[in-house]
């Protein structure tokens, strides 16, 4: 029983971390129309950033500042933001598919840097982490699993609530206007260039937070964690759940991670011995099939973007109209 709960907690921790990243992508793609094909680079920037800042010092290795956990995680998120800002300045002039290709290239370059810049990233060996937050104080492994799950779900909830506020505010409305048509957005007095960059940076910082949580959970990071498949998994989660809907993003993360885990389990269990070497590839194909199938049959996802109603609130501040529970 404890084994099962413990496994479920582990599963939910992973799904929750991925859901945070999917929420970040939803801000970029779902609400602003930015086709980020390099999710893993920003996830990775947060992951390595957290590790470098919070990890123990090691000879011949940059980093190892052993900073307190909250500072390390916050710093990792900031590093993801800075990377996104630079990448955004360079690539956000590109549209749709071109942006996707450019950001995909950035992710490949990022992975190569982590593989080769030994002094910074530990190269292919990766970086050994720091004790997980409060692990010593809690002691018991089972309880600690639940604690970490609680931590992840708290961050997920905070990100969800923050994003709901953001996308239902006038700011979110402008993002959706830009998503639809930049020239028109410009002609109604908005500045798409600045807003696209902001959305890109905020979304990437959220991905960085997911990366930071991920490495603190495993207390280890290596280039293996930044394989391109992660980008595709996160995209599949958003597409299945419903781009433009934050609840859809979370639902998609849990569904796809569940399907991924189950298919991995089923394949290792039931696939003939000769096929065992290829189970990973079969899973890749499955992810591709899910993305393509969803785009063909239900492109809006399981929970489509909602049309929010205007609410005219009686007691509102004089001279204001409430739209989406927001003052326009």
């Amino acid at each position: 029983m404890i084994g099962l709960i413990s496994y479920l907690a582990f599963f939910a921790t992973m799904a929750g971390i991925l859901a945070i990243a999917v929420l970040g992508l939803n801000l970029q793609w779902g609400h602003t129309g930015l086709f980020n094909g390099g999710v893993v680079a920003f996830f990775g920037a947060g992951a390595y950033g957290t590790m470098l800042l919070g990890g123990p010092p090691e000879p011949g290795q940059f980093g190892g500042f052993a900073l307190p956990y909250v500072v390390a995680l916050g710093g990792g998120i900031l590093i993801a933001g800075v990377v996104a800002w630079i990448v955004g300045l360079l690539t956000l002039r590109l549209r749709h598919d071109y942006l996707a290709i450019a950001t995909f290239g950035v992710a490949v370059a990022f992975e190569n840097v982590t593989r080769n810049a030994d002094w910074l990233t530990g190269g292919a060996r990766g970086l050994r982490g720091f004790p997980r937050p409060l692990e010593a104080a809690i002691g018991d492994t089972f309880l600690y699993g639940l604690f970490f799950l609680g931590l992840v779900l708290a961050v997920l909830l905070a990100v969800y609530l923050g994003l709901e506020r953001l996308v239902n505010s006038p700011y979110g409305r402008v993002l959706r206007a830009i998503r639809e048509d930049e020239v028109s957005a410009r002609s109604v007095g908005k500045n798409p260039t600045r807003l696209r960059l902001e959305s890109f940076v905020i979304g990437s910082m959220i991905m960085g937070a997911a990366g930071g949580l991920y490495v603190s959970f495993y207390a280890f990071v290596s280039p293996q964690d930044l394989a391109p498949i992660l980008t595709f998994q996160i995209w599949a989660m958003l597409i299945v759940g419903g781009a433009g809907n934050n609840r859809g993003a979370i639902l998609g993360a849990f569904l796809i991670w569940g399907a991924w885990t189950l298919s991995g389990f089923a394949l290792s269990r039931f696939a003939p011995d000769a096929m065992q070497l290829y189970t990973g590839s079969i899973q890749y194909i499955l992810i591709g099939v899910v993305i393509v199938g969803m785009l063909m049959w239900r492109p809006q996802g399981l929970l489509p973007e909602r049309v929010t109603k205007t609410i005219y609130q009686k007691g509102a501040k004089k001279g204001s109209v409430i739209i989406n529970k927001e003052v326009i």
């Binding site: 959706r176 998503r179 639809e180 002609s187 204001s320 109209v321």
Partner: protein, 241 residues
């Protein structure tokens, strides 16, 4: 009557060293409805977009209410009192009517009152506030686009073929509506294909061909000009297209 918008020797185009507009001059008088007509490809949309800051200007100047606005970014135009209703994609289809209006009302201190005024002016919009704008009919879309342009009380409104794609009856209604807007004090520069209808509602008319001024005058004179009648109101095509 004084000029609210003055265009002098304008050269503009999409590609460097390839001007579409050459030495275009135009004056829009306070409270007037001035129409620009001309064959397809004459540069009418290009002229409107150059004024709105969307197409780069290589020579000449644009003066709005006595202020030189040549080369100003399009998103800086609205606060200066210039509104632009594009020929296509002039509303945000995935946003609701209310959200479309909210986008442009955002900076107004009296936005609630202004929203009510707009909804009184365009009653069909009031009934559909929470519908996606993409679900509106063609005429209603133009109505929303015009309402959005008017929201910030511009002094000058540029409209690119608001009647395009509408049935003759609805097109006439949209143009009548456009005419009636000048009563609120806004001056309108209107590009139209629908020459007869445009001349019916306009005060003044400019004819553009191959990116140059061809002819201009009071709308009723242009309407009775035999050459214009032959070219635009009869069947004969001009070679400029």
């Amino acid at each position: 009557m004084s000029a609210v918008l003055q265009i002098e020797g304008l050269e503009a185009g999409y590609v460097r060293d390839l001007p579409i507009l050459r030495q275009v001059n135009l004056t829009l008088k306070q409270g007037s409805l001035t129409t620009i007509i001309g064959p397809n490809g004459a540069g009418k949309s290009t002229l409107i977009k150059a004024i709105a800051g969307i197409v780069p200007i290589s020579a000449g100047r644009v003066v709005l209410n006595g202020r030189d606005i040549t080369g100003i970014r399009p998103d800086e135009m609205a606060p200066l009192g210039l509104a632009y209703v594009p020929q296509t994609d002039n509303i945000f289809r995935t946003l609701t009517i209310a959200q479309n209006l909210a986008l442009v009302l955002r900076r107004l201190p009296d936005r609630a009152a202004r929203l009510r005024e707009l909804l009184d002016t365009f009653p069909p919009l009031a009934e559909k506030l929470d519908d996606r704008a993409g679900a509106l009919s063609g005429g209603q879309r133009q109505m929303l686009a015009v309402a959005m342009a008017l929201a910030t009380r511009p002094t000058v409104m540029l409209m690119d073929e608001p009647s395009a794609g509408l049935s003759p009856k609805i097109a006439a209604e949209v143009l009548d509506l456009t005419r009636s807007l000048t009563a609120t004090g806004v001056s309108i520069l209107l590009v139209e294909q629908n020459v007869k209808q445009a001349l019916r509602v306009a005060d003044h008319c400019y004819i553009l061909a191959e990116g140059r001024n061809r002819l201009d005058g009071p709308a009723d004179q242009i309407l009775s000009d035999p050459e214009v009648a032959a070219i635009y109101l009869g069947g004969r095509r001009v070679g400029a297209a």
